[in-house]
Each structure stands twice: as structure tokens, then as C-alpha cells.
Amino acid sequence: MFIAVTLAILLTMLLVLIRAFFGPTLYDRILAVNMFGTKTVLLIAVLGFLMGRPEFLDIALVYALINFIAIIGLLRYFEYNQGQLPRNSEPTCTDDSP
């Protein structure tokens, strides 16, 4: 039964990756990457039980944390533009750095 769930999660990861490649907008891609991270957490947890080594759950926990931080960081960067900087201007992150 763990194998069936593992296959379902792997198939879903494939579908999510297709959406991440063909996503028409930037936000579709970010959403797909977020879902891919969540599916990775689930896959690691199920694989740990499948192999009889539940210590894998530590890795799943760390991966969940990293995924959340990465998504929030990306969204802070892309909130008000879709990645294009204004013409003839430096990136704003260098302005207030010492």
C-alpha cells in the first residue's frame, strides 16, 4: 500500500512539473514549485515508511521548512513586478546596501 501511495505521489509530481514548465504566468510556476515541494515532503515521509526507516521524517521536516521560506522569499521579490527592472536603473537591492 505504501508503493501505491508512492506511485500516486510520483505521478502527481510529474503533472505538477508539466504545469511548472508550461505555466503561462510566473505565478503558475511559483504555485507549481510550491506544490512540488509539498509533494517532496510527502514522498520522503512515505518512502521512509516503505523502507522501514522512519528517520527520514527528519529530512521531510527540514524540507518543509526550507520550502516555505523559499516560496515566501520568491514572492517578496516578485510581488510588484514580474521580474522586470525599470529601464536604465540599477536593482533596488544595491541602493541601500552599505
Binding site: 501505491a4 504545469r19 505565478y27 506544490m35 515521509a45 521524517l57 510581488e79
Partner: protein, 113 residues
């Protein structure tokens, strides 16, 4: 006590199968739905029901209490971060100029992509 283990196994099986189904249908929705905000709805199904049911099914299989605590931590963490990430994503999509497809626009646009 063996009937108790059997019942736990059955419950675990049911939860894992339901979770696998929810995850797969969410992935299908993420691929097939017409616009970004409806895709977020499919992603919500994957995050709450899929992850919750799969982790619940794993929780019925544990022998060590430490493993159960770790599973509950992952469950609580996904329950906290998934709505936060969804909210930030929808907010930044609205600020970035994306609008939901509505009414006739959706009917005209629903078949493709």
C-alpha cells in the same frame, strides 16, 4: 490484541488510499484548470486533504512515539504554512496584475490551455 492491529491497518490503508486519490486529483486539477486562481483551488485540495490524509495514514503505522511526534509536527507545519503561502501567492498575483477569469470570458477561454 491482534484485531486492534487489524483495525489500525485497515484505517491506515483507507486513509492512505484516500490521500493518494486526493493528491492525484489535485495534480490533475493543477494541470487542467483554466486560470491561475482555480489552479490555486486544486492546490489547496492537495495541501489539506492529500497531505493530511497521507500523514494520518502513516500515523496509524507508527510503533515509536518519537516518530508519531515527528509526523504530527510535519502535519502542524503544513497546516500552518500552506494557507500562508497560498495567501501570499494570491496577494502577489493580484498585485502583479493577474485577474480571475469570470463569466463569458471563462466560457470563451475554458476550453484551451
Amino acid at each position: 490484541m491482534t484485531w486492534l492491529a487489524d483495525i489500525l491497518d485497515l484505517l491506515s490503508w483507507l486513509a492512505l488510499m484516500a490521500g493518494g486519490f486526493c493528491v492525484f486529483s489535485g495534480g490533475l486539477g493543477l494541470l487542467r484548470f483554466p486560470d491561475f486562481f482555480s489552479r490555486m483551488h486544486a492546490a489547496g485540495v492537495m495541501d489539506t486533504l492529500g497531505a493530511g490524509l497521507i500523514l494520518l495514514g502513516l500515523l496509524f503505522q507508527v510503533e515509536d512515539w518519537l516518530v508519531a511526534v515527528k509526523l504530527l509536527l510535519i502535519l502542524a507545519f503544513i497546516g500552518l504554512t500552506s494557507p500562508t503561502a497560498s495567501h501570499a501567492l494570491a496577494k502577489s498575483a493580484i498585485h502583479g496584475g493577474l485577474r480571475p477569469l469570470l463569466g463569458e470570458q471563462l466560457k470563451a477561454d475554458g476550453g484551451k490551455d
